[in-house]
Amino acid sequence: MTDKLHFSLVSPEKELFSGNVDSVTVPGSEGDFGVYPEHMPVMTTIRPGAISVMNDDAERRIYIIGGFADVTQEGLTILAEQAVELADLDPAKLAQDITNAEEDVRDADNDDKREAAEENLDTLRSMQSAMNA
């Protein structure tokens, strides 16, 4: 088992993933980093982006918004505020969401609303670029 990394991904609502994998690439706030078994202990914040989980040559990409990654001797734990499986996302729907969000930004009648709408738009756009990558 030493050549596998124990990885768990939890969001406030539920535990999304828990198991052994080969490696995980995490978008840390100071840059992306790959976590392999026997990684040194690290604790870092995460910027919105896709993590990629490699297991037996199969890749799973999960989009994460906000959170922390904690690497200990036992493995990697990611506490995500929100997490979406990229394979579950529908490109057409995402494009539609982006169009809607752009409209929201235009229609916002005060700064607070505009800020919220822009934030939403940024998230959706980075989600899209992560999907196309």
């Binding site: 768990s8 939890v10 969001s11 406030p12 609502e13 539920k14 535990e15 828990s18 840390g28 706030s29 100071e30 040194m40 202990p41 690290v42 604790m43 870092t44 914040t45 922390f68 904690d70 200990t72 001797q73 036992e74 734990t77 506490l79 505020e81």
Partner: protein
Amino acid sequence: MASLKEFRNRIDSVKSTQKITKAMQMVAAAKLRRAQESVESARPYAARMGAVVGNLSHSMTDQPDAPKLLVGTGNDQTHLILVASSDRGLCGGFNSSIARKSRELISNLIKQGKQVKILCVGVKAHEQLRRIYSDKIVDVISLREHKHIDSNIAGSIATRVLEMFEAGEFDVCTLVFSKFKNVMTQTPATQTLIPAAGSLDEPAELPDLGGACYTYEPDEEEILNVLLPRNLSTQIFQALLENVAGEMGSKMTAMDNATRNAGEMIDKLTLQYNRKRQSMITTELIEIIAGAEAI
């Protein structure tokens, strides 16, 4: 003596009450299942969060510039009590036990000469606490307009608490809620939210790092600045979820009892009704026979 019609009316009204309590019981049972699932699925996050905070606080608590959220203001004169209860009644002793726990806590603090402020989440505890402590209640947050408890609600409550903390309105924050054990048992519990170091049950075991040193990116302080508010809202979220599950469990039990009581009452009333009817028939017969004999 009540007439037959009166008996019939009473039986009917108890029957319709029974229908209502039965329906409420079934609704609570359905909601309970969902609430229980969400409590159980949220537990890993809260547990991990606690572990991470525990790890970090080890290295920070001794430092003079440790965040106040973690180690406190160095003062414990003003306490904020966050009382989380439900928004609806008819759930047995659920809200009363939370209110009782809060009252014990508050009167203890007052005896020690501390200042107490109360923030109620859910109106039911507020209704019970305002009789004695109306001058101490800062605000009431109703959950009624929210259909589901999600992390946004907890987030907004946490923001509110943080704003008050930063404004220096209190030194210690304690949360009173009901811990969901199983359908039959919910125990009111208290938890210290601020300072966060006080909420750890025991100094967390430092994980075996194999001699390696923990690396923090960016640095401890910055991580803690993000992590501690997040931890606060996670703890509140967890408490709210436990509350919902507890409320539903308690409601289910209460309504089950009510349904059973109504059933017993219907049986008793029906028996009385039948006796009355028989005795009336007997009286009538005696009258007829007596009349016939007189002729």
